[in-house]
């Protein structure tokens, strides 16, 4: 690298270190996000408060309800009367009610159908659905035990034997944390880059830079190198925290991960540079960067919300979001391994996007103030 680029990179690093808001975006926010997603946020319903109402607590009812005390998913709240349980549900204190009528035991012994009423709080539809699944699990286990104990014919003729690959513990953390790397690198690559270049325009340092023999390519390269290195730092930090703090497995190879991350970083940098070159204003650049890079990386990338479940038009839109390719890549490299069929198409898409954004920036950057 020539001396001018090294000088620009050195300058850029000093500025990042001395500017509190750069540090906030480049280091503080990523760490907060990683901690929140690693420890705080989880889609898995665990320890769900569940009201248990047995109108007559006879042995049959007791044996069924004991399953809820053994399940790791529930915190049972025994309630005597249904009306009280309903009030708890309305207040949001429990997420569901299991209700056994007074004749539950009698009907069960009589061999007839003994309905178990389950009411779930449907406001959080996702949790409600998980609760349904867990209650069904408890019920199936109870049936099986009862059949085994009393040597009855198979109560469940078609049991479902499930195996969950890639994420056997079914921890949402295992897919959230790798996906988060895409969000963090968007922060550093696009948002921070957009802000710092717009700042040069605002503070008049760009005018001073341009009047020196530096070429526009060198100015751009200086930024790219700096924020590329910074983004790589963010990657290493995220990967380290993912592996050693949150025990997320990395089944693919690190070098492949690094390659994908580099391509994505270049894409993000391209977007950041393009935004700031067009706007030349920190405020507008920040707003646009949040809307077109940060939010899509969160919502439209498959990071939290499954792309396959979105309406077709939105699915089509996600193809324009670079983070989409990176999230698919990340989830595969971390949880599944080096699977070429997933990795190469996504890497190719990232490479094309990086070339497009950087190329366009190069095209419209002129050493002119107009």
């Amino acid at each position: 690298m020539n001396r001018r680029i090294t000088a620009l990179v050195r300058k850029e690093f000093i500025q990042v270190i001395r500017d509190p808001s750069s540090i906030a975006i480049a280091f503080v926010l990523p760490v907060i996000l990683l901690l929140l997603f690693g420890y705080g946020v989880s889609l898995d319903a665990k320890r769900v408060p569940l009201a248990l109402v047995a109108e007559r607590p006879d042995p049959a009812a007791q044996s069924f309800l004991s399953g809820f005390y053994r399940s790791p998913y529930f915190v049972p709240v025994p309630v005597e009367r249904m009306a009280d349980a309903e009030r708890l549900l309305e207040a949001g204190a429990v997420k569901g009610i299991v209700h056994l009528r007074a004749d539950f035991g009698r009907r069960l012994l009589g061999g007839g159908e003994a309905p178990i009423q389950l009411i779930v709080d449907g406001i959080d539809a996702n949790t409600a659905r998980l609760v349904q699944g867990y209650v069904t699990d408890v019920w199936l286990t109870w049936l099986q035990r009862r059949a085994d104990a009393e040597r009855l014919p198979a109560a469940i003729p078609i049991p479902l034997e499930s195996r969950i690959w890639y994420n056997a513990e079914v921890e949402s953390r295992n897919f959230l944390v790798p996906g988060l790397i895409a969000v963090i690198m968007t922060l550093i690559g696009a948002l921070l880059t957009a802000l710092v270049i717009a700042r040069e325009w605002e503070r008049g340092t760009m005018e001073a830079l341009m009047s020196t023999p530096v070429t526009m390519g060198e100015i751009l390269l200086g930024k790219i190198v700096t924020y590329f290195l910074l983004g790589t730092g963010g990657l290493l930090l995220s990967v380290a925290m993912a592996l050693w703090l949150f025990d997320v497995p990395l089944r693919g190879s690190f070098w492949l991960l690094w390659l994908g991350a580099s391509l994505f970083l270049l894409t993000a940098l391209g977007m950041g540079l393009l935004i700031s070159t067009v706007t030349r204003n920190q405020f507008v650049a920040g707003q646009i960067a949040i809307i077109v890079t940060f939010l899509p990386a969160f919502i439209l990338s498959g990071f939290i919300f499954e792309i396959r479940s979105m309406p077709t038009a939105i699915q089509w839109l996600t193809h324009l979001v670079p983070a989409r390719y990176f999230v698919a890549f990340l989830q595969t490299v971390f949880l599944a391994g080096d699977i070429g069929a997933v990795i190469w198409p996504n890497l190719a898409a990232l490479a094309v996007m990086a070339a497009l954004f950087l190329g366009r920036t190069w095209q419209i950057s002129r050493k002119r103030l107009e």
């Binding site: 069904t136 498959g302 989830q331």
Partner: protein
């Protein structure tokens, strides 16, 4: 006093709407976000691709598969003939699960023995995997009753209150009311004081006879009005466009929104009074909004968070308003039930506003 506040208000509204940039911030991003969130943010599953590995090819396996094909949730995408094909289709994300019938599936069933079905799921997205598993169980249970005429003793009858079909849009879209009003009020307030400080107009303001209380009122009303308008717009879109029912009381909804806006404005003004430049204001708002949204229960339930994190969420006004919005939309709660959500927001509003007003005259350079 009200005379001076009036002039301050006129000025605030004029600066908000005469500047192309701040007009843009108030109008464009919320609309984009509303549409994107409304459509894209969903936990529902739909047309889940799966592969069939049927070694049985008997009557019963075909019957189960026919049942699967009849469900709009699933979509058959591949047929497998031997074990070695399982890994590639899952690896490539071609299908989300493989359903496997052993070679003696029908025979066992015919003999009245247990005939297990194996399902191998892609767990990369654990949430989707769990929900798919739940669906499959329901399908098999229904199948057992309808085709084998075996009614297990004691069988759960499930009913969902408030959101009978468990559509996650009914969960997400009301949440957007809380999310977007927060974003809009934070962006408009976090910049007001900082912008005036940066441009020197705050000094100009402080040398007039205006009091901190008057400044506070003057700076609170515009974002309040904008937040209210924006919130109402989103409410209307949620009900008439996305078809989410509104079953509760509008009075309670607006009372909650009023307190929520005051709390959000208070936080925004506090951040703004602490910032020297607009950039710091914007960063401060960003650093508040992102964790606040994540820790609000907007997408992921607060109950799932560890105890310490849950305690932090008590400081987050969005957490309270989300409960108010969602329950007033889908249920019809009495005020007494929502009271625990109201008073913490009032306290947050009072504390942050008092701090901001104090900072007006005390954070000086």
């Amino acid at each position: 006093m009200w005379h001076r506040i009036w002039h301050l208000l006129v000025k605030e509204f004029l600066t908000l709407f005469k500047d192309k940039r701040s007009r843009f911030v108030v109008i464009a991003p919320p609309l984009v976000q509303l549409l994107v969130f409304g459509y894209a943010a969903t936990f529902d599953i739909d047309r889940v691709p799966y592969a069939v590995y049927d070694e049985d090819r008997g009557r019963w396996s075909q019957a189960v598969l026919a049942r699967l094909r009849g469900s709009p949730v699933f979509e058959e995408a591949a047929h497998l003939d031997h074990d070695a094909q399982i890994a590639p289709v899952l690896d490539r994300r071609q299908v989300l699960f493989v359903i496997h019938f052993g070679s003696r599936f029908s025979e066992r069933l015919a003999r009245g023995r247990q005939a297990p079905v194996q399902v191998i799921l892609d767990g990369r997205n654990s949430n989707t995997a769990l929900i798919v598993l739940g669906y499959l169980r329901t399908v098999l249970a229904d199948f057992t009753v309808e085709h084998l005429h075996i009614v297990p003793p004691g069988r759960p009858v499930i009913r969902a209150w408030f959101n009978e079909n468990l559509q996650s849009r009914w969960f997400i879209v009301p949440g957007i009311v809380a999310l977007l009003t927060l974003v809009v009020t934070m962006v408009t307030t976090a910049l007001t004081v900082a912008r005036e400080r940066e441009q020197g107009t705050f000094d100009q303001l402080l040398v007039t006879p205006i009091t901190p209380f008057e400044i506070l009122v003057g700076k609170t009303i515009p974002p309040f009005v904008i937040g209210l308008a924006e919130g109402s717009l989103i409410l209307a879109v949620a009900v008439y466009w996305f078809g989410v029912p509104f079953r509760g009381s509008l009075t309670l909804f607006y009372a909650g929104m009023g307190l929520y806006l005051l709390a959000a404005i208070g936080v925004g003004l506090m951040i703004s009074s602490l910032s020297v430049t607009q950039q710091q204001g914007l960063m401060g708002a960003f650093l508040f909004v992102v964790p606040a949204v994540i820790l609000s229960g907007f997408a992921t339930p607060i109950e799932n968070m560890p105890e310490t994190v849950q305690r932090i969420t008590y400081l987050n006004p969005m957490r309270y308003f989300l409960v108010i919005v969602r329950t007033t939309f889908l249920a019809d709660p009495p005020f007494a039930l929502l009271w625990p959500q109201f008073w913490p927001m009032a306290i947050i509003a009072a504390v942050t506003m008092a701090t901001a007003a104090w900072l007006f005259r005390h954070r000086l350079y």
